[in-house]
Subunit: 118 residues, 2 copies
């Protein structure tokens, strides 16, 4: 069999996140979770929508709340409909801050990809 040449496609990729005291604070997954909590008003439903265990979702939110100056998510256990969760103003700001940042990174990567040598 003859040696075949394969055309390879090279691409620069990147990931960005925000730390608080050198620990994970905000990343893509966490921000997506915040958006789902906003959409559903519930941690358990948000977790289900992301095919994530409730425990992990709870832990992520607990981590974010403890690291933010003000909580990003307000939770209520018990009460009407069993309770629920909602996003604070600080939570809204966290979402937009991170998404803007990520978008700028994508633009940076796109530019660098254009003149990537191998």
């Amino acid at each position: 069999m003859a040696k075949t040449s394969k055309k390879q496609t090279y691409r620069i990729r990147g990931r960005i996140w925000i730390e608080s005291n050198n620990e994970a604070f905000l990343g893509s997954g966490r921000v997506e979770l915040l958006e789902k909590v906003k959409e559903y008003g519930s941690i358990s439903k948000a977790a289900k929508a992301m095919k994530m265990s409730y425990r992990q979702a709870w832990e992520l939110i607990d981590s974010m709340n403890s690291k933010a100056k003000n909580p990003l998510v307000i939770k209520q256990s018990g009460g009407k409909n069993g309770g629920g969760a909602s996003i604070t103003e600080a939570g809204e700001e966290a979402i937009s801050t991170f998404k803007n940042l990520r978008e700028e990174m994508f633009q940076f990567l796109e530019m660098k990809n254009k003149n990537l040598k191998v």
Copy 2:
């Protein structure tokens, strides 16, 4: 005990890498490994210097070589001093391409960190 307020330091962090056909090709660890191979002329010594198992180092180099247009590392098993490994011109270029890219990302992050809101 009174409630104490903790001053938190927030920081944007990022990571960058190059893929070939959507698979890892070049990242910080791989490039550092290339540099060590260049320095020591040996995969096993490079691995030891990075406190990495020889197997992992070998696999990383095998992966890079198979994904690059031309091999980044030339290996010889057996022979003088048992053999060894060295960096090709393509390997040198891969190192500098990636390190330049990463440096530009750091500058990007530094700029974004300066006007980071929370």
